[in-house]
């Protein structure tokens, strides 16, 4: 299988790239010239080029980490083209050209018809409706001083903000994949909520979907100034078929005094087929800095897609009384692998963190929770509560928990609970004895299991996540 995977990893060009620099495609491989090219193509200021080069120079000295509980064949970083933007999605002429499997999925998920076309990449006029919707929202946001745009736009229109905060939470040399992202990121989202402003609506990357594909090295920066609050939704529940194998994104959140950032993700990247062939490697660095007093950063994620998910959305609780939260559901089926969790770094006094992790494994898949709770010597009165539950469906899958707890302050209180259960034959029998069919029964049990996390999601997302889970696990219980 490794040869097959190898060939898949090495085929991000199957749509016929031309290695002509004039046509906006960089030759394969990564060196300083590539980075200068990316920066020049994007017409970037000198400081950003230095940022990238600094990251690159750190990256070449680093080696790919191998401590995680996932297995994949090595990626050849010199066999990837790092600039092909703006990369228009391959537009299809009509819905008839769309993969029927994809359409079936849309139907199951109840994705509205006009969105199906947009998501499947069909060039249809109706998608302009949502562009106008996005424009309306943008105006509304601008009125209260919120900046929500692509990071490339932000670099040009708000350089002082980007310069100040980019890399301030995830330093360029933080880890192998973050360094790679910092060197070569092409685009992503930028969001700035000024002092005292409560963002009047959930900000969704969906509103940006028509502007450009963000590519495999996405960069997101969210800043909430003093007293500001925002709920940010990332992703979409429809499967994103993508030929890029490696996705190494970086997300940085900064919350100043009394600010509140809630970041929700529903991830359903292509997971490979039922034999474990293909699928996205989702290697992401997400970190929030609760910089100010009483600030709060909350991560909620529902991870159902990708062949390999490897990410630890984390909180650095620097401000006194700051709060960090991590709510996660990770579902793996077939041959998917997930190694996910969080890091809660308590620095400020009376900082609090909560970790609720729910792992569900079916098929031949493997799911691991890996989390670090560190109470530093300055964090008087810090508290953490962690709960990690795993559910197994069938007997070919695995669930693992790797909690790391480091306490350097004896006033801290740290609690960790963990459980592993098999989806009960008894539960299924009970529900079936009340006339409830197997699929519905599994869906009910799973949704109950994930309730603590789902109730953290914005309403619409929660409904979609519920459907998505049922769909992911369809047929996994006989």
């Amino acid at each position: 299988m490794s040869a097959v995977l190898q060939s898949l990893v090495n085929q991000p060009y199957k749509h016929g790239f031309v290695t002509d620099i004039e046509s906006d495609v960089a030759p394969k491989g990564l060196n300083e010239d590539t980075i200068r090219l990316i920066s020049a193509k994007k017409n970037e200021p000198e400081w950003l080029l230095s940022f990238r080069l600094d990251a690159y120079r750190k990256w070449v000295t680093m080696s790919e980490p191998d401590w995680q509980n996932v297995h994949y064949s090595k990626i050849d970083y010199q066999d990837i083209s790092y600039y092909s933007a703006p990369k228009p999605k391959n537009k299809l002429a009509s819905m008839d050209e769309v993969d029927p499997e994809l359409l079936r999925t849309f139907e199951k998920l109840g994705v509205p018809l006009h969105e199906r076309a947009a998501l499947a990449g069909v060039a249809v006029d109706v998608i302009f409706d949502s562009v106008s919707v996005a424009t309306t929202y943008k105006q509304k946001l601008a009125e209260v001083g919120i900046i929500f745009c692509s990071i490339s736009e932000a670099v040009h229109n708000h350089p002082e903000l980007v310069k100040k905060y980019l890399g301030s939470v995830v330093p360029v040399g933080d880890n192998f994949f973050a360094a790679l992202n910092s060197a070569v990121f092409t685009d992503g989202s930028f969001c700035f909520i000024p002092k005292g402003v409560k963002c009047p609506m959930d900000l969704s990357t969906y509103f940006r979907i028509n502007t450009e594909g963000s590519g495999q090295f996405e960069r997101t920066l969210v800043i909430a100034e003093e007293g500001a609050s925002v709920s940010y939704l990332e992703g979409c529940t429809a499967p994103q078929f993508d030929t890029n194998q490696l996705h190494a994104a970086v997300v940085e959140l900064i919350a100043l005094d009394n600010a509140n950032i809630k970041y929700s993700t529903v991830q359903n990247w292509y997971a490979g087929d039922e034999n474990g062939i293909g699928g996205i490697y989702n290697f992401v660095t997400k970190r929030g800095l609760a910089k100010g007093v009483n600030s709060r950063i909350s991560w909620t994620q529902v991870e159902t897609g990708a062949a390999i998910t490897w990410k630890y959305p984390s909180c650095i609780l620097r401000g006194d009384n700051s709060v960090g939260e991590f709510y996660s559901v990770a579902v793996t089926n077939n041959f998917q692998q997930a190694d996910t969790g969080t890091k809660m770094i308590h620095i400020g006094k009376n900082t609090r963190s909560t970790i609720i992790s729910k792992g569900i494994s079916a098929g031949h898949s493997n799911s691991s929770y890996r989390g670090l709770v560190r109470i530093t010597p300055t964090a008087d009165g810090a508290r953490n509560y962690s709960q990690c539950d795993s559910m197994l469906i069938g007997d070919q899958c695995g669930a693992h928990t790797f909690p790391y707890i480091q306490v350097q302050n004896n006033t801290a209180k740290v609690e960790h609970e963990a459980s592993t259960s098999k989806i009960g034959e008894d539960q299924l029998f009970y529900l079936s004895q009340r006339g409830i069919g197997a699929e519905e029964a599994v869906s009910m049990i799973i949704n109950g299991f994930c309730k603590d996390v789902f109730q953290q999601l914005p309403m619409e997302f929660a409904v979609e996540a519920t459907k998505l889970l049922s769909f992911k696990l369809e047929g996994s219980v006989g």
């Binding site: 009960g424 034959e425 008894d426 539960q427 029998f429 009970y430 529900l431 079936s432 004895q433 009340r434 006339g435 409830i436 069919g437 197997a438 519905e440 009910m444 049990i445 949704n447 109950g448 299991f449 994930c450 309730k451 603590d452």
Partner: protein, 264 residues
């Protein structure tokens, strides 16, 4: 409540069933008609609960011989959910907990599934709420039952009441109540028995599986069967249960030996 117009609901013939190749049921014969209440008594391990689970279609048991007909149809050919939809209900001895699922959500899904099967209207959450609260009065249940997770953190008595509530909602043709009396104090027993009595009518039938005759003081059976080693060894009326209570199950063995002795 036996009525001469009653119809045969359940017909079990020479039923043999095993778990992991160990035979538990060794030739059960039983006929249950509408309007009847049957009690099945016997010691632990005599096969009472196994019979209940086999009727409901639990996958751990293998039927090795015999037949079960439910309203003339082959019950063994149906998966558990279709048996339930056909009108067969099992009140569990140990009701199962389903964390995170609100009781009302579960009850409504079950109710609507059965309603759909019967070609009747399904209820939306508001309509169902009114409907279920009415039924809950029957069992003296507090409204907070609806919002709690299914059976999670319920006391023994609450779990059993929740079972009978489901029976009241689903209006099964045949209910098998597996040790519904176990773990109940006398007040709870009275409430549960009262609920069952109000549900019982000439169109349905009930099989009570129990150790003790005290339940039968409240729900009076038309027939009492005694199980032993996977078979029904004796059948009588309410008096048999009282006899058992006073003389113990050993009396049946003695009696059987006697009978065997006479025949020999």
């Amino acid at each position: 409540m036996i009525d001469k117009n009653s119809t045969t609901l359940l017909s079990i013939k020479n039923l043999h069933a095993s778990i992991n190749t160990t035979e538990i049921l060794s030739g059960i014969n039983l006929t249950v008609k509408s309007g009847e209440i049957h009690a099945i008594m016997g010691l632990n391990g005599s096969g009472k609960s196994t019979l209940a689970k086999v009727l409901a279609g639990h996958s751990a048991y293998e039927v090795t011989a015999g037949s079960i007909e439910f309203e003339g149809k082959d019950l063994l050919a149906l998966p558990p959910e279709e048996r339930a939809r056909a009108g067969l209900f099992l009140g569990f001895q140990y009701p199962i907990e389903i964390p995170g699922v609100a009781n009302t959500q579960f009850l409504r899904l079950a109710y609507n599934t059965i309603q759909a099967q019967r070609g009747k209207d399904e209820l939306d959450p508001l309509e169902f709420d009114d409907f279920v609260r009415e039924k809950m009065k029957l069992l003296d249940m507090k409204p907070d039952f609806l919002d709690r997770s299914v059976n999670e953190g319920f006391s023994g008595g609450e779990k059993k009441r929740n079972e009978i509530l489901q029976m009241a909602l689903l209006e099964p043709k045949l209910s098998i109540l597996d040790e519904t009396d176990s773990g109940l104090d006398i007040d709870a027993l009275r409430i549960v028995a009262n609920g069952v009595n109000q549900i019982a009518c000439k169109d349905n039938a009930i099989i009570l599986v129990t150790h003790y005759q005290r339940l039968l003081d409240y729900i009076v059976p038309d027939f009492v069967h005694v199980m032993q080693a996977g078979r029904i060894v004796m059948t009588g009326d309410k008096k048999l249960a009282i006899e058992l209570e006073t003389r113990g199950y050993d009396w049946i063995n003695a009696d059987q030996h006697l009978a065997t002795g006479v025949n020999a």
